[in-house]
């Protein structure tokens, strides 16, 4: 039989040729790839400006082949606001961890959503501070052991995990707020579709869009990469339910 080779999948064009510093099996890499794929598919690379956070993804600007700036810890939505207001024709996104977005940066994210800033936020919830050695985050699960909660998170002492997607969906300025997970191939595909819709929201000027992605941190959870994905599916999903918390009517019937 005569046959030719068809490429089913290849590395996105929006990636540089730099190998990342992420730990083996860390789903930060999956989230990066999905963002790059969506930017490729929408042809946005030349006009996109990314805002990198403080956290493990602090070097995100090295991995995306596009304009990027680096924000102070938690301040990415404020920086993105300024950039988008000065350059409204550019596509502006932030990429933030849960320490960055839900702890030190919770004021910036709430107000950016409240103001309905026309930016896209990729929110990586791995229930821990990865970069600094595995301390408790606002998203750490009840009973979960971290370096700053060695006996497990005691909610009487440290409070309850904060569900950001639910909170942000209550802001009138938000247009698209969903939570997805990256713990297996089917969920990775759904995550990508959500990222696509978030960027579509921005391109249509609908307002603030955010995709919360449940992510793994095998190193600080002290699990193998596969065990860490299982932890996301079995332990995180029940606390952080996947779903569409707010979808602007314009996006509802959009085929992507």
């Amino acid at each position: 039989m005569v046959a030719t080779a068809e490429v089913i999948y290849q590395r996105p064009e929006s990636f540089t040729e730099v190998h990342t510093h992420y730990c083996p099996g860390c789903t930060h890499g999956v989230a990066h790839r999905l963002v790059a794929e969506v930017i490729d598919e929408m042809g946005l690379r030349e006009k996109t400006i990314g805002v990198a956070p403080v956290g493990c993804s602090v070097f995100a600007y090295r991995y995306f082949k596009m304009d990027f700036v680096e924000a102070a810890h938690g301040r990415a939505p404020a920086m993105a606001t300024g950039i988008k207001r000065v350059l409204p024709d550019r596509t502006v996104f932030t990429y933030q961890g849960d320490g960055d977005l839900a702890s030190i940066g919770i004021a910036e994210i709430m107000h950016a959503a409240g103001r309905g800033e026309n930016i896209t936020v990729i929110f990586i919830n791995n229930a821990i501070y990865g970069m600094t050695g595995g301390q408790m985050a606002p998203t750490t699960l009840e009973g979960m052991k971290t370096t700053s909660s060695p006996l497990g998170r005691d909610v009487k002492l440290a409070g309850y995990p904060i569900r950001m997607a639910e909170l942000l969906s209550n802001m009138d300025g938000s247009a698209y707020i969903v939570r997805r997970s990256m713990h297996n191939a089917a969920n990775v595909r759904k995550s990508k579709k959500a990222i696509r819709l978030a960027f579509e929201a921005q391109e249509r000027g609908l307002g603030f869009s955010l995709v919360e992605l449940l992510s793994s941190c095998p190193t600080n959870w002290k699990l193998t990469p596969q065990e860490a994905l299982d932890f996301v599916g079995e332990k995180m999903v029940p606390v952080f339910p996947l779903g569409d918390y707010k979808v602007h009517p314009t996006l509802e019937n959009l085929k992507v």
Binding site: E6, P12, H19, V30, R33, R189
Partner: protein, 79 residues
């Protein structure tokens, strides 16, 4: 049955995390314990010819290390 799909792992990116090995429905992947990547990891490799080119390994790979190919017959009958 002839090969219908295959993958190529880029050893500059692969970190030997094994997620593709665990995810492959055809169970045709394994870490190559005979080789090390420039970063010092055992890379993923194909062990047999039953790959369907489904792309699942590439979807779960955190390092965009996998390129997936499929045989494309001149007259498309399959899929």
């Amino acid at each position: 049955m002839a090969v219908t799909g295959w993958i190529v792992v880029d050893n500059n990116y692969c970190k030997g995390c094994s997620l593709c090995v665990e995810a492959c429905p055809q169970e045709v992947l394994a870490l190559d314990m005979e080789r090390l990547t420039p970063q010092g990891y055992h890379p993923a490799k194909m062990t047999q010819d039953k790959c369907t080119g489904c792309g699942i390994c590439a979807v779960v790979c955190p390092d965009a290390a996998i390129t997936v190919y499929r045989e494309k017959p001149e007259k498309v009958t399959r899929r």
